[in-house]
Symmetry: C2
Subunit: 201 residues, 2 copies
DNA sequence: TATATTTGCCTAACACTGTTAGATAATTTA
DNA sequence: TAAATTATCTAACAGTGTTAGGCAAATATA
């Protein structure tokens, strides 16, 4: 009966293997090449077994996007902890977001790709709120106000996010953005938004 | 032998019908639901016929994105012609871009979706340059310079595009952006960039 | 220990998908 | 009218996500 533990461990391992295999295929061949049969091949089981761990392919991919958000959250937290001034924190956090998008290109596509995930964006990914909340916090601090108005923070948050995500999307879809352009656009934009938040002293 | 004309007309019509059918399916059921067999059903032919008009499904969809760019170019041209001041032109052109994205949501996804079109972005869509060139022109005018430096225009162009496209993507993927937030973010951002281009007089 | 039950896993199938080869029917040319 | 060309279809291949049903091994019960 103590074998229940061992069995659970084996099941957990298989679950891990499924996710790893899916991730590997996504990275090596792109998400359009991901198939249940390929996953089954890698984990050396037959396809129906996967359905004992995930309701369907979409649920499996949803799990991967959650992994993505957890990595992103960890990275951004580390970036923040490297600085004391909110403006430095914000700058580094968005740069980290940028770097994540390219270091984990496939994960990023899964997390924000228009096609893949279309309608699963109700609140089925609580992990998505962690990075967002961090940014909100720092924007609030940067205003220097006691009780910064919610809608100001919200507006600045979306401005940040739009310009960074937009630039990333453009780069992921269309290669051939002139060299050095990205850094300049990014730094200019982030700097500009930060200036518009920071109180004049 | 004069029937050659008539035959050509019929072929053209079938080609149109194929594109229309594909567009209809994309709009009504989304692009992931688009299949050659469904198109064939609508045009009342068998699937292989489609391959006499398009090399494959991807080529068919590429044609649709070109249609998208042509509509976008027309809209933006009209927006520009409504104003004389470059700053007004720019503002209206980007607002038009914004409106297009939501009025022709499916086309926009096809044109800029990360998943759908991944690797066909070499220069196989010359139509894509028309809207871009228009914006470049107006930014150049707005600087008030005789020979505005290329890289400044380029930088501003990408800043515009990033923030607008980013905000659109976010809205298309994640619904539930707070009401009125979009307009504010958009106008603030566009206004800010325009100010950074316009010479201080 | 022998029987019953649950579990793990597989085979086989269904209904789709994009795409192609080859046969057939219709039309045009000689 | 016969030959050649063109238009269209049928049937298939190899792949997809997913599910029903069965077999065999491991476990629980008597």
């Amino acid at each position: 009966m103590a074998s229940a533990d061992r069995k659970q461990r084996l099941k957990d391992e298989t679950r891990r293997n499924i996710l790893d295999a899916a991730m590997r295929i996504g990275r090596e061949e792109g998400w359009q090449a991901l198939s249940m049969r390929k996953i089954a091949d890698i984990i050396e089981y037959t396809p129906p077994v996967i359905y004992e761990y995930f309701a369907n392919k979409e649920a499996l991919m949803l799990e991967l996007t959650k992994v993505g958000y957890r990595i992103l959250a960890k990275d951004m937290k580390a970036a923040r902890e490297k600085h004391r001034l909110p403006e430095k924190q914000l700058e580094d956090m968005w740069l980290t977001y940028w770097n994540f998008a390219f270091a984990e290109k496939e994960l990023y596509q899964l997390m924000f790709g228009i096609e893949v995930n279309c309608c699963v964006w109700d609140n089925s990914i609580p992990e998505a709120e962690v990075p967002a909340n961090m940014i909100w916090e720092v924007i609030g601090e940067l205003t220097g106000m006691e009780n910064p108005p919610e809608d100001l923070i919200c507006k600045r948050y979306y401005t940040f996010w739009s310009v960074v995500h937009g630039l990333i999307s453009i780069n992921l879809v269309r290669q051939g953005v002139p060299d050095g352009m990205n850094e300049e656009v990014l730094k200019d934009a982030i700097g500009g938004i930060i200036r518009s938040i920071k109180p004049l002293n």
